[in-house]
Symmetry: C2
Subunit: 410 residues, 2 copies
C-alpha cells in the first residue's frame, strides 16, 4: 500500500510550528509495512488543498492528514475533503454529545462555531478524540482512503494508535514486529562493521542503525504472517546482536540510558549522590527527571569554582595546584569527598573541559575525568569527547557518567 | 513571489530524521516577503522527484530544495534537477580544488565517488559550502528558479544566510526588518488583549505573537522601500509594546532569559550560587550553559533529600517538620544557608512539587517557592505552574527562577 502524509495549516508554512507529526506518522506507517512516498504541507486554503488531494491520490491509495479540524473559520479540512469525496456533512450525535459534555466539564460556555465540530461526513467513520474537542474521521471510496486527524500531537498520536493502527492492520496480510536496541560507546560505522556478518544478505528481519548524540540504536524488524512468527525471528536476531556487541548494549526496549540506570538503582536500593564541575548540574537534572528517584538520589553538588570543590568536597588545594581542576586526582578527591559528606552508596564525580575556551594541548576541550566511589573502591576513567560544541560536550559527558555507573554496579 | 520548500531524502520518509529545515526556511522566506505555498518531502527517487518538480513549478516561481547532494549513489538531486532544467553537468574547478583541499586537511584519502560533488550544472551559480564537502547551486530559466542546498542544517543554514538571502533580496522591491520581543509571565491570549489597541487595524509593521513553554514572544516586522525606514517603523512599535508590557519584557533581541540574566550578572560582577530541590540541578545546568559563567557562578547544591537540606544548608529539622520541605520557610532557610556556605552575592533557592505524585489539596503539583538572598535581604515568592507534566513543571520553575533574579537585581 502506497501512502502520503499531509499536514494542513498555514502556521506550518509560516514556520511558526515544528511539523513533528510527519516524522511520527512516517515511522508508524513504515512499521505497519506501508510505504510513504511523500510528505506534503499546505495552508488552510480550500483550492490548494483540493488541488493537492487530486495530485496525490493519482499516486497513492492512502492519505494520512492532520490539522484544520478545529472550530474556527480557518479550519476547512473536513469541508474540503468531504467535497473532494462527494460526501455531505451531517450532524453526528455522539460527537455532539461528547462536545457538549466536554464544555460542561470545563465549565465554559459552548460557542456557536464549536458546533461545526459535530458535523461529520455522512459515510465516514468517526474517530473519537480523547484529548480534545475535534474528532477525526476516515473516508474511503473506490480504493482511495483518507484519514483526517487533529493537528496537536497530544490529540493526534493517541487517536492514531487507538483507532487508525488497528484499521490499517486490516489491509495488511502481514504483521510487523520490531525491537529497538540501544547501545553506548560505539560509533555507527564501527557498529555496522561489527554487525556486517549479520546484516549482509539479511532480508527479514531487517537491521537498521541510527546514530544520535553519542549513542547508536539498532532497529530489528520482521514482517511475517503472524505476530508470534515475527517476534520469534526478531528475538533471534536481537540475541545475536547482543552477543556480538556485549556490554555496549544497555537496552533492547528502546529505553533511555538514564532511565535504565535510574531504575536499576531504585530496584536495588543503591543510594547515589553526584558532584559535577563541567556538566554543571546536568547529571543531577537528568537523574531527577525520573519520577520517584528521591528514593535513592540524595544530593548533587555542582562545585563549579575551585573554592566550592575545596569547601564542599574537601579537595586539597595542593591537588588542584599540582594536577589542576581537570585531572584524575581531582576527580578522585571529589568522589571520595562526596562519600564523606553524603554517605551515599555510590558517589560519582566529574571534572572536564566543556569549552569553547579553556583547552590546552595536553588537556583539549572535550577531555573529562569521571570518578566513582562504590563499595570501598574509587574507580576513575578519562575520555576525550569529539568537541562538537559546549552543549554536545556536556551532554555527552552526562551519558558517559550514566554508562560508567551501569558498568560499575552490574 | 510564490515559493515551495522541497526536502529530498528517503530517511525523511522513513521517519528517521526530523525535518527541521522546512521550518527554518519557511521562517526565513516569510521574513524576505516571499510566500511559501507548500512544503514537500520526497525520497531519493529520480522519477518521483522529476514528477514533483513538474507539478510544483506549475504553481510557484521559486523552489528551495535541500538534500541529496552528497557523494553516494543515492544522492541524485543535482542530476535530476539539471536534467529537468535541460542542463549539463560539468567539472567545476573551484569546487574540485575545495574538495581536494578539504580531504587534504582532514588527512583522509579522496575516494572516487567524491569527485561527483565537483560536477555542477553548466549555467548554474555554485554556492560554496563552508561546513561540508557538497556545494549548493542556483538554476534559473524562464522565470523559474531552484536553489539546491545540502541537507545537514549546519551546512545548509550558513549557505542560505550567506548566499541565498542576498540573492533573493534582488527580487524584492522592499526590505523587511524585524525584531523579536521576548516576555515572561503573560499568557498569549492575555498578552494579545493587552496589545489589542496596537494590533487592531495594524497593517505594517505586523505584530504576531508566539507562545512557547511558559513564555510568549512578539514579532514586529515591517516591509518598506529602505532598511532605515523599516527599522524606524519597527522600533516605534517595539517601543510602544515595551511601554504597554513594562517589566514583562526581558529582551528585544530574541535572547533567551538565562542568557540575559547570566550576562547581567557577569557584566555587573554579581557572584551567584543556587540551591535546588524540585528542579534537581536544571537551574545550575542552564546557567552553566553560558561560556565564561565560571567568573560569577560559584556552586549549585541539589539538596534533594531532607537530610541534604539539613546537612548542606543548615535547614532546621523543625522547619521541615512544621512547614514541610515545600514551604516558604524552607525556601528561605535554604537561601540563607546557601549564603552562609558560599558567600555569593546572590543566593537563590527553590523547593516545589514537580509531580506527577506528591501533590495535595493545599499544595498541588506545580506549586513552588523561590527564595533569593541578596544584599542583606531575603526575598521569597510562590507560584503555581500549570502542571502539564513533570518535565514542563521543572522547566517552567527554572524560568521563574531566572525571572525572579532579573526582577531583584535590576
Amino acid at each position: 500500500m502506497k501512502s502520503a502524509i499531509l499536514s494542513i495549516g498555514t502556521e506550518i508554512l509560516f514556520g511558526e510550528i515544528e511539523n513533528s507529526n510527519s516524522r511520527f506518522l512516517s515511522d508508524q506507517l513504515n512499521l505497519l509495512g506501508i510505504d510513504v512516498l511523500y510528505h506534503h504541507s499546505v495552508g488552510d486554503n480550500r483550492d490548494r488543498l483540493s488541488h493537492l488531494l487530486k495530485q496525490v491520490f493519482e499516486e497513492v491509495d492512502l492519505v494520512i492528514a492532520t490539522g484544520g479540524l478545529g472550530p474556527t473559520q480557518d479550519d476547512l479540512t473536513k469541508e474540503t475533503v468531504s467535497s473532494f469525496f462527494n460526501e455531505d456533512l451531517v450532524l453526528h450525535d455522539d460527537s455532539l454529545k461528547s462536545l457538549e459534555s466536554n464544555f460542561k466539564r470545563s465549565g465554559s460556555e459552548i460557542t456557536e462555531n464549536n458546533y461545526k465540530q459535530a458535523y461529520m461526513p455522512k459515510e465516514g467513520t468517526v474517530l473519537t478524540n480523547k484529548h480534545g474537542t475535534a474528532p477525526g474521521f476516515v473516508l474511503s471510496k473506490n480504493g482511495k482512503i483518507i484519514v483526517c486527524m487533529p493537528g496537536p500531537p497530544r490529540e493526534m498520536k493517541p487517536m492514531f494508535c487507538d483507532y487508525v493502527v488497528p484499521y490499517l492492520h486490516t489491509f495488511q496480510n502481514n504483521v510487523i514486529y520490531h525491537k529497538m536496541i540501544r547501545t553506548f560507546g560505539l560509533g555507527e560505522s564501527h557498529l555496522e562493521t561489527m554487525l556486517l556478518p549479520l546484516i549482509d544478505g539479511q532480508k527479514d528481519p531487517t537491521i537498521a542503525t541510527y546514530a544520535k548524540e553519542g549513542e547508536t540504536s539498532i532497529r530489528v524488524a520482521s514482517k511475517r504472517k503472524t505476530l508470534d512468527e515475527a517476534r520469534e525471528e526478531v528475538l533471534k536476531v536481537v540475541y545475536k546482536i547482543c552477543e556480538a556487541l556485549g556490554d555496549h548494549v544497555y537496552s533492547i526496549d528502546d529505553e533511555d540510558l538514564h532511565i535504565v540506570v535510574g531504575n536499576y538503582l531504585m530496584n536495588n536500593n543503591i543510594t547515589i549522590s553526584s558532584a559535577e564541575s563541567c556538566t554543571g548540574g546536568l547529571f543531577a537534572g537528568k537523574i531527577t527527571e525520573i519520577p520517584g528517584i528521591s528514593k535513592v538520589f540524595d544530593r548533587g553538588l555542582v562545585t563549579y569554582s575551585n573554592r566550592a570543590k575545596i569547601e564542599e568536597l574537601g579537595v586539597s588545594e595542593d591537588t588542584l595546584e599540582k594536577y589542576g581542576a581537570v585531572s584524575k586526582e581531582t576527580a578522585e578527591e571529589m568522589a571520595d569527598g562526596l562519600k564523606r559528606v553524603s554517605g551515599s552508596d555510590l558517589c560519582i564525580a566529574i571534572t572536564g573541559i566543556a569549552g569553547p575556551e579553556g583547552g590546552t594541548l595536553e588537556k583539549p576541550v572535550g577531555l573529562s575525568y569521571i570518578a566513582v566511589n562504590y563499595k570501598g573502591s574509587t574507580f576513575v576513567k578519562s575520555f576525550q569527547g569529539r568537541n562538537v560544541s559546549r552543549r554536545y560536550n556536556r551532554r555527552y559527558a552526562v551519558l558517559q557518567m550514566f554508562n560508567y555507573i551501569r558498568q560499575i554496579v552490574k
